[in-house]
Amino acid sequence: MLKDVSFGQYYPVKSFVHGLDPRLKILFLIGFIVAIFLAKEFLALGICAAVLFAAILFSRVPIGKVLRAVRGILFLVLFTAAINIFFYQGERVYWNGPAVLLQWGIFRVTQAGIVFSAFLVVRLVLLVVCSSMLTYTTTPVALTDGIESLLTPLKWIRFPVHELALIMSIALRFIPILLDETERIMNAQKARGADIGSGGPIRRVRAIVPVLIPLLLSAFRRADELGDAMDARCYSGGKKRTKYKKLRFSWRDLVGVLLLAGVIAGVVLMRFYPVFPL
């Protein structure tokens, strides 16, 4: 059950995308998100979607797995779509027929509303898919290495970059452990007749207590033990530490840079010189 949580999980295969420099992937993600937000028309989003689709194909992560990440925000997507369909105030006509298709009290379904909410849905889905692609194709370790490397300039203002990266990688490392632990405790309480995940909201919240308390206790215990273990091995912060895996920029990265920089530039440009404006 908990193992179905797929958002943010690494998918272990070898591929072009997996092999890219994590720093690059992070920068791309940021660039991509900016591009998606700047996009003002379907064509621009379409280009983003096409590039993303190509990236998925090259990464050899199954499409079903990627779409499962969308399932997590399905409610949000539907909610956004509904709000916009009913309340969007535009009057533009996109196809033959009345601009206002339905009017009922304050609810108003217009052609423009339908088009606009479709646009929002596509945008949301793209956002989730591209960020989950980063985590699917990058190991948590590579990810934090990348972030640490990107944040290096902040060291000049005495920002504890290394410590931050360490905290992140420990947190990421502990997610599967804690998920396992949750499952174990849930099983133990289910075996004692706990009714988890059914009944009304109040019963549900009450049913969480027998799981949450042991889980918190075990999290604290683990944190303590980890701290002791690091201490025992004389771990001491960022200074003079060397890396086991050095990040290197390779030819694939160059290919990636050129390709994606082109797309992002194109999409940004389309904001100022729209082709088919909404």
Binding site: P12, R184, Q189, A191, R192
Partner: protein, 296 residues
């Protein structure tokens, strides 16, 4: 409760790169009244098997099973777990499950509340205060704790061994007919281990007619079990009484499993030409050796 399994297989994370076959065509029967042992390496499928016994892991639906050619059978007492409509609550009331390090599942403010948790969950309707008290008192006394002394104490203030007792009390409070324990003595000192095993024997002769115990400790298994199943790579290698099983000391060692001290000694003596036929409990072994010395 009689446990019957036939052709039971289980795959974790099916159809993903993480897929691992935890159980592979497991068939075995545990008779009512047995003190049944399960041994095997970590990852041999012991825990996965045991979790099937009270429906924490389910068989795939009948439809999927037919598609996969399997004719899996899994019944625990009168409950048919291959049937999706089985009343899991009724099943779990009768099948107590003590997980590894059960003290990690304690959560309530007082020992009383924690032990009463299972009782209240399984009761039909709301049990009266007297009924609950009687059941909790029974359970705590059975595990060897002083009811009056511990009932108002926070479970987190107790010692490790006491915590484990409270956790076990929280499982047996419904008087299950089948008690399944995963490494009940792990992490305890020798005295603590012995006390837990004694407790299990007490339970076996009173409430829980059938006991299934998963263990790494071969001495524990040799001393206590009527029969033992050996799991390796998701399959059942042997199902034998300890007396028969530990005669195969060399095969067990080849599987990477440990054997009881007595079995090691038997093997060493055999290599020097001395045959000792014991049931591998320490007492019997010592007696047989003494008897042997007298005849020489």
């Amino acid at each position: 409760m009689r446990i019957v399994t036939e052709h039971l297989s289980y795959i974790y994370n099916e159809r993903s790169p993480f897929a691992t076959r935890a159980l592979d065509d497991v068939s075995l029967t545990v008779e009512e009244g047995e003190f049944f042992g399960i041994i095997g390496h970590t990852g041999s499928g012991k825990s996965t098997f045991v979790q099937h016994l009270n429906g924490l892991l389910r068989l795939p639906s009948a439809l999927k099973r037919r598609a996969k050619r399997g004719d899996t059978v899994l019944t625990v007492g009168e409950f048919d777990l291959a049937d999706r409509k089985t009343d899991l609550r009724a099943l779990r009331r009768k099948v107590g499950m003590v997980f590894q390090y059960p003290e990690n599942q304690l959560f309530a403010e007082t020992v009383f509340d924690d032990v009463a948790f299972g009782y209240k969950n399984f009761a039909d309707g709301k049990p009266s205060q007297e009924e609950t008290e009687a059941a909790v008192r029974d359970a705590l006394t059975t595990v060897g704790l002083d009811y009056e002394a511990v009932k108002e104490v926070s479970p987190f203030e107790l010692s490790g061994g006491q915590k484990r007792r409270v956790a076990i009390a929280g499982v047996i409070v419904t008087k299950p007919e089948l008690l399944v324990l995963d490494e009940p003595a792990a992490g305890l000192d020798p005295l603590g281990k012995q006390e837990i095993m004694e407790l299990l024997h007490t339970l076996h002769s009173s409430w829980c007619k059938t006991v299934v115990i998963v263990s790494h400790d071969m001495d524990e298994i040799a001393e206590n079990c009527t029969r033992v199943a050996v799991f390796a790579e998701g399959r059942v290698k042997y199902v034998l009484p300890p007396r028969e099983l530990f005669k195969r000391t060399e095969e067990l060692l080849a599987l990477g499993l440990d054997v009881p001290l007595t079995a090691k000694l038997t093997l060493a003596l055999k290599k020097r030409g001395v045959e000792i036929d014991s049931d591998f409990t320490l007492e019997d072994f010592a007696e047989k050796v003494l008897a042997r010395r007298r005849t020489c």
